[in-house]
């Protein structure tokens, strides 16, 4: 008798399912890797390049054609220049078509030929910073008018070509970007600001969210309205609320200062977003204000799914409200609280818009993400910006390691 054994390997059905799965996933994988994975690789590449904002446009020959002078002195002038001050351009060629109303009277510049009406030059290599004029003496053909000839000559745009090494693709590498990023105290200041912002922003948003969720975890008239209202800060566009805060806390025309002055809390206007360390605290408060709704929403959802039997049993045993919260609710909420903590921690770490809009990274509020922008666009050093981005990505990998170790237990992912 044959013994029934389970099939090993994958059956045809299973293989068909896997094929379908991959074909369903393919478009997503393609687009995500194009726009996420590729840029990430690019960031690594760029972070080792000495590249500034101005180097983004590859060096190119720039040409302007004009018809100068009149009568015997008439000439066609090509003004040719190398757009880069430090890179040479090779194999430079010019192609142009001349109008019939002009006749060449003198010598053509070296390397140039005229075949019928087609004018061509092979100029070879342009030195860095090359800026010269090529002149061709001409005269008007019989019956041609000067203005019309000028228009015709300048009307046909000359085509200029040249090969240049782009700094983006050549094999020149440097570690100077990283040296600059890790340079001395500046880096640790940025790091410390980032940690402060992330830790307090996350914990604050969680605590306020928990408080708000406890307030709304009972049914009363107006509960729905309040719940909608408390989500406002999260739903509104960041740009609208950030500018409102800047307006509200303005040292000269801000209502908050007026209110504090009037109540006698302070005797002179406070520059909330302009002085250390208050600016950092304010930015963190804004983060808490904007994201407590998110924690509140998740915690409330979890609270409403807790079984009420447990509380009834606790009531029978004579547990007081605080005891019920401490010994029953909190342990039930621990899972969602820790997941939220990890997620919010990472997102707060990644936050850029808020600080950028509130202070622009000034007054001691420059976090790592703002530093990317600052280096790349304010100082125009794309390489250094990319190096900071690489540091961020490294931190992120470390976080997600923790996250997955933890969340696999919590969420079964």
């Amino acid at each position: 008798m044959r013994v029934a054994i389970p099939p090993n390997g994958r059956g045809p059905l299973e293989r068909r399912e896997a094929r379908l799965a991959w074909s369903l996933l393919l478009p997503t994988i393609t687009i995500v890797s194009l726009v996420v994975v590729l840029p990430l690789l690019a960031i690594f590449w760029i972070s080792f390049k000495p590249i500034g904002l101005a180097d983004l446009r590859p060096p190119a020959p720039v040409l302007r054609e004009s018809l100068r002078g009149s009568g015997d002195e008439m000439r066609i002038e090509y003004r040719l220049r190398n757009s880069s001050q430090d890179t040479e351009i090779t194999e430079v060629t010019i192609r142009d078509v001349w109008p019939e109303s002009l006749i060449v009277t003198g010598d053509l510049p070296a390397g140039c030929t005229l075949d019928g009406r087609a004018f061509a030059c092979d100029l070879g290599t342009l030195e860095p910073g090359y800026n010269e004029r090529l002149r061709v003496p001409v005269m008007l053909a019989d019956g041609a008018e000067e203005d019309a000839a000028e228009e015709a000559a300048e009307g046909s745009t000359p085509i200029v070509r040249g090969e240049a090494e782009s700094i983006l693709t050549n094999a020149e590498f440097t570690v100077e970007n990283f040296a600059r990023v890790f340079d001395g105290d500046a880096f640790w200041t940025v790091m410390w600001v980032t940690i402060f912002y992330t830790v307090f922003g996350t914990v604050g948003a969680l605590l306020f969210g928990l408080f708000a969720a406890m307030l709304l975890n009972k049914s009363f008239r107006g509960q729905g309205i309040l719940r909608g209202l408390y989500l406002f800060p999260y739903v509104a566009p960041v740009i609208a609320v950030a500018f409102t805060w800047v307006n509200l806390f303005d040292p000269f025309s801000g209502s908050a200062n007026a209110l504090l002055l009037q109540m006698g809390v302070t005797s002179e206007a406070i520059n909330f977003f302009g002085q250390r360390p208050l600016a950092l605290i304010m930015v963190t408060v804004f983060e808490i204000w904007r994201y407590f709704p998110l924690s509140f929403l998740f915690i409330l959802a979890r609270m409403q799914s807790i079984d009420t039997d447990m509380y009834e049993a606790a009531d029978m045993d004579g547990a007081s409200p605080f005891q019920k919260f401490w010994y029953l609710s909190l342990p039930m909420l621990l899972g969602i609280l820790s997941v939220l903590f990890l997620l919010r921690f990472i997102w707060t770490f990644n936050k850029f818009d808020d600080i950028f809009l509130l202070t622009g990274g000034n007054a001691g509020t420059r976090t790592l993400t703002v530093n990317v922008y600052e280096q790349a666009f304010a100082i125009s050093n794309i390489g250094a910006g990319a190096a900071v981005a690489v540091v961020i990505f490294g931190c992120l990998l470390a976080f997600s390691f923790f996250f997955f170790r933890f969340i696999s237990r919590e969420e079964g992912l």
């Binding site: 995500v32 960031i43 609320v241 509200l248 998110l294 605080f322 993400t369």
Partner: protein, 402 residues
Amino acid sequence: MRVLRFGYVTGPLIGALWLFILATTVSITLSFATGDAFRPALIISLIVGAASGVVAALAHDRKIRIAMIAAPVFMLTLIGLGPMVMESTATSESIAAVLLALVIGWSMVAIMEDVPMGPLTRHEMEEAWIRFLTGFGYIFFTAIVLIPFYVMVMTSLKSQSALLQNPLDFSLDLDKGWALFRSYHELFRDFNFGTYMWTSFYVSVLTVFITLAFSIPGAYAVARLRFRGQKAFSRSILLIYMVPMIVLALPIYIAFSVTGLRNTVLGIVMIYPVTTIPVALYMLQGYFRGLPPEVEEAGLMDGLNRLQVIWKITLPLALPALASVSLYVFMIAWNEFLLAFMLLDDPSKFTLTRGVAMLNSSEIPREHLMAGAVIATVPVMVLFLGLEKFMTKGLTAGSVKG
């Protein structure tokens, strides 16, 4: 903590804190409403509050207790020795006094409900404090949420010079009629805000459709089909979800500069869905997992193939989830600022958020900036409030299972 277990300790303590909170609240409310000076008097409100806490714990009838608290607070406030100091017109001063007296009388008695003067049980003590904290919580959260939005709307309706004179005076001159909305009118007339709004709208809608087209098949495959690497895939979705936009924005900026996609709406439409696809994938796969597989298996048995099952069974069942994902994606695209800011320089192609950012200059008066903020906020708020149920369900059900 033991000391708190007596009515004559808990009562005055709660009363003192509560009256101070209420006096502050009423002062701030009326300051914002009238622009005149209202402020809480710390010492007096603590003393009067403590007294009213004691009164509330007395064994009288409810109405008598309310009257015994409200009347003295009202009188004291009016003669200027109360928990609130005011310099305003007689009308608003008396409104303030009545408001404060009524609210403190009613709420104090409600907080001290069933709390006797003498020794308290642990329950009685804790419940009184919880009622106090709840009241405080409602006031606190409502205030911090409402004040910025109130300031935003009101600033947009007032002139900058008026606000510089008294930053607290948000009272509107209703005689002006439609002229109140001057800054809105100018934004639409001189600053092209109509175009920006339309750009934002169609970019967001396109983003929603593109996102759904990519994420529905992807999420279904991850949630339902068995294949090698499934687990790794659902993790990498989360991982991508966590890559900060600023890190990607730099190479995208470079790539778009080189290819000439910068400063085009096409570039924006291409890049927005990629920021939302991971979110949508994550939310949708959570929802698909929650659908009963039996229904789909029944469909398979009846001779449908997988794609037909998705189209005819899963999608109709997932309609609520699709609605909330669409809403969420729309919201993200509408509110998106960073990419629009970096990639768009040409004022004729701005999205709304980029247009508002343009208004942030010293040459443009504040009310225009705030009017722009209101214009950007209102559509997404209307959408959100109208469909709040969907939104909250989708957010919580998909992202983190609870």
